[in-house]
Subunit: 182 residues, 2 copies
Amino acid sequence: MDAALVQFHERGYNGCGVKDITDAAGVPKGSFYNHFESKEALALETLRLYGLSRRAELLADASRDPLERIRDHFAFLSGELAARGFTGGCMFGNFANEMGDQSPALRHAVETRLGAWSDTVAGLLEEAKAARRLGRSIDTERLGRYLINAWEGATLRARVTKTAEPISDFFAVAIDPLLNGS
Amino acid sequence: MDAALVQFHERGYNGCGVKDITDAAGVPKGSFYNHFESKEALALETLRLYGLSRRAELLADASRDPLERIRDHFAFLSGELAARGFTGGCMFGNFANEMGDQSPALRHAVETRLGAWSDTVAGLLEEAKAARRLGRSIDTERLGRYLINAWEGATLRARVTKTAEPISDFFAVAIDPLLNGS
């Protein structure tokens, strides 16, 4: 599973085969099908593990200001991207891109995970709204979805610039104004 | 070239081989290398053609309001996505995702094209700012880059939802407020 996560993240779904993954794991290719029905089944499991590494607990800490939690969550993800030299992107976005048209199962898995992530952010925005830190007219569900998509776009752009600029742009335009109440 | 554009757009860079492209074009595979040095060289040329299909002329029509031009440009791209049933995504984003870490030449080509696109949008935002339709404190270069990235993220999300919702979210959060002067 660890080898699959690294291989899929670095090379994409189509960019690596089962043999690349079993080679990276140091196990015979033949043993793969004792554990997984297909490469697609492995990718689904990999997405689940990747989701667990997104530090959703930063978002869940009810003792802290909801807008600061959103900011710190994206700051954690930004630090991770920078540490990887802006390679690899986000696995949700990668699989959306490569497999959204090809694999109904992977499409559905990514849709569900991005939906849950958006809902979590929307819930925090709703908390902030209830505390009058956000305007009453803000559609928090829409803004939650939008912020996740804008994050995915920033991640994608950083993959070609290999700089933090797209991430800084995301914070300056989408996140900081929320915290400044503007 | 037409066959390559369709194949790369529908299946991604790693999802199709030279033979898929020559088969789709109805020419022998052997003839490919008389015209292109490599699949990568073909992909670079395909990106150029794709750029020409983005209707940049909608952005250049100086007789029209700059913010309306930005809105109409994204509305054109939205219509195209809907007509494709939200498959295929944006080829710039696709190549960024699949090849941003693998091919320096493709990475550079996408970086350049997304940069030029961002600059064009930034120029229109600057026009709107000069006409006092946008606040004086807005960093138009940053906002230009950001809007392109947010668009790419919306496109990516639509590829998994197979609905216009991410596009509607983009307009409602990022574009309509610009035109409403808020």
